[in-house]
Structures are given as structure tokens and as C-alpha cells.
């Protein structure tokens, strides 16, 4: 496992995972406490405290890795600043780990044994703000190799024969895309890194940018050399401030070392990169809309052809790749196409990164070889569902994707098999749902998103999805009609056919897949007026179980509409006419005295 390859100089190494997830869980405070604690005990020369990116085990954040000079490294999970003192005293000074806070070795094995980390090769290992760390991990060696021993065409051939396909979702072969851009006439060409990760439930690109920004820069440089471009843009969401900050640091460092600029590594290759912040429009993940946005316009898609490779940014040949695609490049150049295409299935080579979230016990960032089954991801790596309820479905591909039911969990993860289910591989968001998820509600959720994010250019996407949402609203209120399911399907076909870009063409997928696999749930809403998952507000009632309610008044205090009343120390009552079914009382009650049916 690559996890074991750090260099240490006979000292202890202690690392704190400081990507956004780690920081959100309080990682910076843990890091500060650790540094202060080490200095206070005069251990500065024996213990090296390092910052690193995403370790992938987001469910255990804050993560602290302690690696003694001799012996095994261990991971502490859910670390708080208060725990640092004991870790320093008992483990680092005393030599015996605080076992009750450690992630058991077999759990780590479960997590890692089915993974293969290529894109994530440095994530959680190196300091993302240090170019020296990246260089020590063979960083920029692939660029050196490409510039000095490979012609641009040889680079393209290598990427083509690796079988790498676009990881943004569509899965177009990367090498072929590069070949088109290379063949397009013109002296000015562009490389764009699409880091406008907008799918709700996806955080792969953010994690890679925050944990290993140089790998993206190196990928872009190699792409620039291959297609003959001299300028690059990284289009990254403004919602990712830490990713932007670390990219800026990395770009400055690379410029300082002569890895960006003119005559890079003493070759005749010149290349510059600048960052553009996306301003919060999901449609800008679509390549023609993205380019319009860089040009300073409203980010609305344009008709293709011409494809960006022919006429892209400012009308010049442009190659656009997603973050994960670019992160693969230097590994492929360094290790060879054959090492890459040895992994995966016949038509889907290599690995895929997934952001595992939702009702999953071990959510986080994983990278698996193509061809692994969904079941292995959910159960072997993810540890099954998080709240003890049965596994119901996974949602892949965000608003463009679909829901795959538990009964099809043997489906292998490759482009073709996933497409057959009606979902798409997508960029890598993989949301696990348990029995508490209502499929009508899920479909409605994604259509709400599409309604917010449709740019409005195509009538079907703009209004067709609105009509679909109205039908779903009706169904979830218990006012659905028999013909509603048919209407949904009819509208879905229209939206698919009459939309210009991928956003509209794929927008009906969540509705179509839930209709296909969970038709009985729609029927229960329409015919019996019940929501089997107890989610749709209009079809449920909250009640207090008198035997369990001690009358503490907590629920009444938090009820936003004062629907709960009762005397102190006597069981309370919910007024169903006032109740807005927000469920706040149920989540506040510590005694489980509130039921929903």
C-alpha cells in the first residue's frame, strides 16, 4: 500500500487531515493544539507535525495519524483538541497508543484492500501546500519525461492507449479528445481544467484540489504540451475557497521553480495557467457554457458542433478536461499506458474516484478499479448503511444520473453497465439511501435542483421540468392522479429530446429511474395516499407516545409553530392542525417519545 511510503528522519511524524471536511470537523484547532503541545513539552526536535489533505476516511474526521520511528502507524479518529494531551503523553512520550481512540487495523484493511489509489496517490500523504512534498513523491517527473523524451504525438498515443476516458461524466476517450485539439489548425490553443464540480453529493474534485493541487497543474502542463497550447484556465467553483487558496499557492510555487512560464525545464515549451472562479451556476459544468462564462458572458450552452477542439474559448481550439482526468495523466506518463489499462474492464480502464455519502456507515473519498460491484463499494468499503436500516438504493451521477435499487447491487461499475441501469457513471457522487428515503421525494429533490439551475434557453428544460415538478408535488401531497406517471414519462422524453445541452438531456433521469425501479412507491402515493418511507409531509402525522413522554417540554420549546402543548412533567400533545410536519420535535426528543405514521 502506498500509504506506507513516507520518508522520516528517525523522528515521529504526526499528521492532521486538513481538507475542508477535516477543517469543518475542527481539524485546525486539533492541529494548533498538537503543535502547541509538542512545543510545550520540548519535543519539537523529535516530533514533526505535518498538515495533509484528505485521508479519505471522512466519517472519522478529525483524523490524526501518528507514525513512530519504529513500528506501525496508527490513525486516531474523531479527535478533539482536548484529546491531544493524552495522545502526546501516553503514545508519543509513553510509547503506548491510546487504543480506545484508534481506528482498528482490520477496519483500515476493509477500507483499503479493495481500493487502488492512482488519482488519490498523494491525498492524505503529502502536504498540499508544499511543492517539495510533491516533488519527493515523483512530482513533475512525468512532465520532465514528456518534454524531453516524448513528442506531443507520442504523449497523445500513450494517453489514448491507456484507455482513460473523461471522468467528468460523459466518458469520452481523453487521448482522442487531445488528438482533435492537436490537429485543429491555429497557433493559439487553450487547455481548460473543469473544476466546476456542481453535482450535489459530489466532492471528489474538491478533495483532489485541496489535497494534491500540483497533480492537476502537471496534468494541464502535459495536456498543453500534447495539443500545442500555451495557456490554461482552471475554472473552479467559488464555493470552494480552500481549493482556490491551495491552487494559488501551488501555482506560485510552480512559477517560482520554472515549471510554469517560459522555456519550462529548459525545453521550448511555454505555458501559463490562471484561475477563474465560477460564480455559482451549475450549467457552467457544461463545456460550452463554461467557456462562455470565462469569456465574461452569461453561462449558457451553445450548439455543438463546432466542438471546443475546433472552436472553443475566444473561438480558438480548446481542450477541456475534468480534474480527475487530469490527475491521472502524470501517473500514466510515468508508469506507462499498459500499467493503467491493466486495471478495469474491457471498455472502462483504470480506476474511478467516488465520493461516498448519504446513509453510509463509512462515508468518504474512495478510489476503486473499474469493474468492482456496487455491493462491494457499499458493504465492503463503506461498511453498509449508517443507521441500521436496510440498504435501499444508490444514486449515481447527481441530477443527471439515476437511482439503482439494492436488487441490482451486483452491477459492475463501468460506463456501459451503469448506463444500462438508466443511471450514469457521472463524476463520482455516490449517495447511499436506506429505507428512510422516499423515491418520490428524491425525484422531486433533483427536479427542484434542475429548476433552479436550468439556464432557461431551451423551452423543454425550462418549462417541461417545471411541469414535471408540479406533478411530483401533487403526488407527494397525496393528490396524484392515475395518469400522472404516464405524463411524467411523456414529459421526460420531451425534455430529453428537445434540450440543447447535457443538463436538460439528462435532467429526467432521476424521475425515470425511480419510476422504473420504485413504481410501487409512486402507486402508494397516488392510490393509497400513503408515503411508505414516511417522508412526504402531507401524508404523515406526528404523535407523542404518552407512555414514553415525561413532559420535559423540550419539543414544545423548539416547535416553530407552537403546535405542542402540555403541563410540565405530564405527557404532551401535538395539535395536528397546527403541525407543519417539520419533524424538529422528533429529532429533539432524546427518549424516542415521538412517532410518525
Amino acid at each position: 500500500m502506498s500509504w506506507e511510503r513516507d520518508k522520516r528522519n528517525g523522528s515521529w511524524v504526526v499528521k492532521v487531515g486538513l481538507a475542508s471536511c477535516g477543517i469543518a470537523a475542527g481539524g485546525q484547532r486539533v492541529y494548533d493544539a498538537l503543535k502547541a503541545g509538542i512545543i510545550a513539552r520540548g519535543l519539537k526536535n523529535n516530533v514533526e507535525v505535518r498538515r495533509t489533505g484528505c485521508m479519505g476516511m471522512c466519517y472519522s474526521e478529525v483524523l490524526v495519524e501518528v507514525f513512530p520511528p519504529l513500528g506501525r502507524r496508527v490513525f486516531y479518529r474523531n479527535v478533539t483538541p482536548e484529546q491531544i494531551q493524552r495522545i502526546i503523553e501516553e503514545h508519543i512520550i509513553g510509547g503506548s497508543p491510546v487504543t480506545e481512540w484508534i481506528i482498528p487495523a482490520d477496519e483500515i484493511d476493509d477500507l483499503l484492500s479493495k481500493q487502488r489509489r492512482i488519482v488519490l496517490r498523494n491525498c492524505g500523504l503529502i502536504d498540499p501546500e508544499s511543492i517539495d512534498d510533491y516533488l519527493a513523491a515523483d512530482g513533475y517527473k512525468a512532465l520532465d519525461k514528456a518534454l524531453h523524451s516524448m513528442s506531443p504525438q507520442v504523449v497523445i498515443d500513450e494517453v489514448t492507449s491507456s484507455g482513460l476516458r473523461g471522468r467528468g461524466g460523459a466518458g469520452f476517450p481523453t487521448g482522442i479528445k487531445w488528438g482533435f485539439a492537436r490537429k485543429s489548425p491555429g497557433s493559439q490553443k487553450y487547455v481548460i481544467c473543469n473544476a466546476d464540480e456542481g453535482d450535489p453529493g459530489a466532492f471528489m474534485d474538491r478533495s483532489v484540489l485541496e489535497s494534491d493541487p500540483h497533480s492537476i497543474i502537471e496534468g494541464m502542463l502535459i495536456a498543453g504540451y500534447a495539443i500545442g497550447a500555451s495557456e490554461g484556465y482552471i475554472y473552479v467553483r467559488a464555493e470552494y475557497p480552500l481549493a482556490i487558496h491551495r491552487l494559488e499557492i501551488a501555482l506560485d510555487q510552480a512559477r517560482e521553480r520554472g515549471l510554469i512560464g517560459e522555456t519550462i525545464l529548459d525545453s521550448d515549451f511555454d505555458f501559463n495557467i490562471c484561475i477563474r472562479q465560477g460564480a455559482g451556476a451549475f450549467v457552467c459544468g457544461e463545456e460550452t457554457a463554461l467557456m462562455a462564462s470565462i469569456e465574461g458572458k452569461r453561462g449558457m450552452p451553445n450548439f455543438r458542433p463546432p466542438f471546443p477542439a475546433q472552436s472553443g474559448l475566444w473561438g480558438k481550439p480548446t481542450n477541456i478536461n475534468n480534474v480527475e482526468t487530469l490527475a491521472n495523466i502524470s501517473w500514466i506518463i510515468l508508469n506507462g499506458a499498459n500499467a493503467y489499462n491493466a486495471l478495469g474492464t474491457e471498455k472502462s480502464k483504470g480506476t474511478k474516484v467516488f465520493a461516498l455519502a448519504g446513509k453510509i456507515a463509512r462515508g468518504g473519498l474512495i478510489e476503486v478499479p473499474m469493474g468492482i460491484s456496487l455491493k462491494e463499494i457499499v458493504f465492503d468499503i463503506g461498511g453498509g448503511t449508517s443507521e441500521g436500516l436496510d440498504f435501499k438504493a444508490v444514486q449515481m451521477g447527481g441530477p443527471s444520473g439515476g437511482v439503482i435499487p439494492a436488487s441490482m447491487a451486483d452491477t459492475p461499475v463501468d460506463y456501459d453497465s451503469i448506463t444500462k441501469t438508466g443511471a450514469i457513471m457521472g463524476s463520482g457522487g455516490l449517495i447511499v439511501m436506506d429505507e428512510s428515503a422516499c423515491m418520490v421525494d428524491v425525484a422531486k429533490f433533483f427536479l427542484n435542483f434542475i429548476q433552479d439551475e436550468s439556464c432557461g434557453k431551451c423551452t423543454f428544460c425550462r418549462i417541461g421540468t417545471l411541469r414535471m415538478r408540479e406533478i411530483l408535488d401533487r403526488i407527494s401531497r397525496g393528490e396524484g392522479k392515475e395518469e400522472d406517471m404516464e405524463h411524467l414519462e411523456e414529459l421526460a422524453q420531451g425534455v430529453k429530446k428537445a434540450s440543447l445541452c447535457g443538463l436538460g438531456q439528462t435532467a429526467p433521469n432521476p424521475v425515470l429511474t425511480t419510476l422504473r425501479y420504485f413504481r410501487d412507491e409512486y402507486e402508494a402515493h397516488i392510490q393509497e395516499k400513503i408515503c411508505p418511507a414516511k417522508k412526504c409531509e402531507a401524508l404523515i402525522t406526528y404523535e407523542i407516545i404518552p407512555e414514553k413522554c415525561p413532559g420535559c417540554g423540550l419539543c414544545a420549546k423548539y416547535c416553530p409553530v407552537e403546535a405542542i402543548s402540555g403541563e410540565k412533567k405530564k405527557s404532551h400533545l401535538i395539535d395536528p392542525d397546527k403541525c407543519i410536519r417539520c419533524g424538529l420535535c422528533m429529532s429533539m426528543c432524546r427518549l424516542g417519545a415521538i412517532s410518525v405514521h
Binding site: S20, C21, I23, A24, A25, C58, Y59, E61, E197, G198, D199, P200, G201, A202, F203, R206, A238, E239, Y240, P241, R276, Q277, G278, A279, G280, A281, F282, S293, I294, E295, G296, K297, R298, G299, A355, L356, A357, G358, K359, G363, G364, Q395, G398, G429, I431, M433, S436, F445, F446, F449, D452, E453, C455, Y558, P560, C582, G583, L584, S587, M588
Partner: protein, 169 residues
């Protein structure tokens, strides 16, 4: 375009012009320039739209069209604290609506509103990308994860306390 008289009095053109000039008056730089203006003022004042349009030499309506297209841009000032409530898929499944409800109660502002005392603006966002810590929200650029309606109350009152102790700008 209607420009509030208040805007004209309060805003100096120098900042806006400096930002526009820094970006070299290229059409491609409109969005970065607007982002800097929002960073400086907390929102895009209508007068800034006119000024940028003048600087670049395009109709103000074009800039206005860009501002209203992108959800990042605001045409109204924000409160002292900005709360972005995540409604991504993982957060939705883990009770984002309840969190939104609790935030509205604790701050007095529903999503899309600013509280009466001007302390909080609450926004709804599609996804913060911290899905494994769902449900989460971002308060002034800091993400808080694994929220419960109860912890929201604590966090909001902490934010209020910290600000009462430190003098405002």
C-alpha cells in the same frame, strides 16, 4: 436603470474604478471584477453595475444580465453574518430541512432573508461538498458539519457572543 440615491452617496467610485481598471477593461474580466466588488461591499451595488458598464463600454443591461444569471451575486447588502445552508443530496437525506427550520428559528431569518437586527443573512445553497459530514452549513466561510437542530442553536449563539465581545468594523 434605477439607482438608489443612498448608493450614490455612500459608495466611492474610486474602489469600483480601481477594480475595473485592474482587470484591464477586458470583457472577459467582467466576472472577476464583479466578484471583487462583491468582496469589497458584500453585494453588487447598482451603481457599480453602471460604472463597470461605462468602464468597459457595454450597456449596463448586459452587466445586470450577468449579475442576475449567477447565483453568487447579490443585489442586496448582507447581514453581519452570512449563513449558507447546504441542501445537497446527502444533506437532504440527513435532514437539511430541519436544519433550515432550526436556523430560521435561531436567527429570525428564513432562507433568502436577512434578520431584522441585520445580524444574519441566510442563503440556501445547492451543495457545499462536505457530504460526509451532512448535514452541514457554512457560516462566514467556515463549514460546520454533523449538525443537529440543537447544535445549530449553540453555534448561532456562539457567533453572536463572539461579535458582542469584539468591536465591529
Amino acid at each position: 436603470m434605477v439607482t438608489k440615491a443612498k448608493d450614490r452617496e455612500e459608495l466611492s467610485f474610486t474602489v469600483i474604478d480601481a477594480i475595473a481598471h485592474k482587470h484591464n477593461v477586458q470583457p472577459g474580466a467582467v466576472i472577476p471584477a464583479l466578484q471583487e466588488i462583491q468582496d469589497a461591499y458584500g453585494y453588487i451595488p447598482l451603481v457599480a453595475i453602471e460604472r463597470i458598464a461605462e468602464n468597459i463600454g457595454v450597456p449596463a443591461s448586459e452587466i445586470y444580465g450577468i449579475v442576475t444569471f449567477y447565483s453568487q451575486f447579490r443585489l442586496e447588502p448582507v447581514g453581519e453574518n452570512l449563513i449558507r445552508v447546504c441542501h445537497g443530496t446527502a444533506c437532504h437525506l440527513n435532514g437539511a430541512e430541519r436544519i433550515a427550520q432550526a436556523i430560521a428559528q435561531a436567527t429570525g431569518a428564513e432562507e433568502g432573508e436577512t434578520s431584522r437586527d441585520g445580524k444574519f443573512t441566510v442563503e440556501r445553497v445547492a451543495c457545499l461538498g462536505c457530504c460526509s459530514l451532512a448535514p452541514c452549513t457554512m457560516i462566514n466561510n467556515e463549514v460546520h458539519g454533523r449538525l443537529t437542530p440543537e447544535s445549530i442553536n449553540k453555534i448561532v449563539s456562539q457567533v453572536q457572543e463572539v461579535q458582542e465581545l469584539t468591536p465591529t468594523k
